[in-house]
């Protein structure tokens, strides 16, 4: 239950961990690369918006 909540709330940053396979010479398919990049943009946009809502009007 706890892990399900964690998975629901937090982004899966492991999806971006492709460096070891790149080091090993494995080709990353373009489609996978684009989907991962899109997921990164999606995370950045949504979490920035949520942060803006929370911190709006606060003295920082």
């Amino acid at each position: 239950m706890f892990l399900a909540i964690v998975a629901l709330i937090f982004p899966d940053l492991q999806a971006f961990n492709l460096v070891d396979d790149v080091v090993a010479g494995t080709a990353i398919p373009l489609a996978l690369f684009l989907r991962t990049a899109a997921l990164g943009i999606f995370y950045t946009t949504i979490y920035t918006m949520l942060a803006a809502v929370v911190f709006y009007g606060k003295e920082l």
């Binding site: 709330i9 999806a15 396979d21 989907r35 949504i46 949520l50």
Partner: protein, 262 residues
């Protein structure tokens, strides 16, 4: 009154954000699952960070690996394994290569090198071990090192089923060390079927088949098929094996291939 309104606004904002996070979670989870499944299909994320790995590589290396320095830790251990090889410390070579291949299961070089050290180098050292006077025990130790080399290659293939190199290494191990031509043929054939495999693999698979007792007719058909592909395939070993099988199978003279020009 103003403070109450402020609290209500904060509460409303928090509820909104919470609903937003949960809605986001519902949207992102299927995408993340799909990406994870694709990673598994492509054999990414080969390393599991668990107690077993922790015991293998030690606490400092484990922390380093967790911090994203997995490939760096593997490289340092690989260098240590090389030094251990220079000192012919075979037990240490084995343990270090186990750690290296656990940390970098997608690096073909590590699996191949580990198997080579075990099945080719350590096995010869065990057979010529001057501290062991009994030949039977030396041969036993030699065969144990063959098995360790085989284990490395099989595990490497499980982690990299789409790469041809390890199939070829396993075929060579069966051929050179076990003299098991049927298994060597099996792995050369599997290797030849993979994209990016060297062109000689299909010939080597046929050569090995020609050494298998009871499969001469099958080998003859395969070698003949390769022979008919053209001049490029008509290499000395192929012709020699084909001639051998023609004699063994008593192929009629008019169906035999011409003798090679001297």
């Amino acid at each position: 009154m103003i403070q109450l309104t402020g609290q209500a606004v904060v509460a409303r904002t928090l509820v909104l954000v919470l609903v937003g996070v949960i809605a986001l979670g519902a949207v992102k989870l299927p995408i993340e699952h799909q990406l994870a499944a694709e990673h598994r299909q492509l054999h990414f994320r080969g390393v599991e960070f668990n107690l077993n790995l922790r015991e293998q590589i030690g606490q400092l290396a484990f922390v380093a690996a967790l911090s994203g320095f997995r490939s760096l830790v593997a490289d340092v251990l690989f260098i240590q394994a090389h030094v251990a090889w220079e000192r012919t410390e075979w037990g240490r070579v084995f343990l270090l290569f186990r750690q290296v291949t656990t940390l970098q299961p997608r690096a073909i070089l590590f699996w191949d090198m580990a198997a080579w050290h075990m099945a080719w180098n350590a096995s010869v050292a065990a057979l010529n071990d001057p501290s062991q006077p009994r030949q039977a025990l030396r041969i036993k130790a030699q065969r144990e090192y063959f098995a360790l080399g085989k284990d490395f290659l099989e595990e490497g293939i499980r982690n990299n089923p789409e790469k041809p190199q390890l199939y070829e290494s396993l075929a060579r191990l069966y051929k050179d060390k076990y003299k098991d031509h049927a298994s060597a043929r099996e792995f050369w054939a599997k290797d030849a079927a993979l994209p990016g495999a060297p062109s000689y693999d299909k010939r080597f698979a046929a050569y090995e088949l020609s050494y298998c007792e009871g499969r001469e007719a099958e080998a003859y058909a395969e070698l003949h098929r390769l022979y008919n592909l053209g001049e490029k395939e008509r290499l000395p070993t192929l012709i020699t094996r084909l001639k051998f099988l023609e004699n063994k199978l008593n192929i009629p003279q008019d169906q035999r291939i011409p003798d090679p020009e001297r």
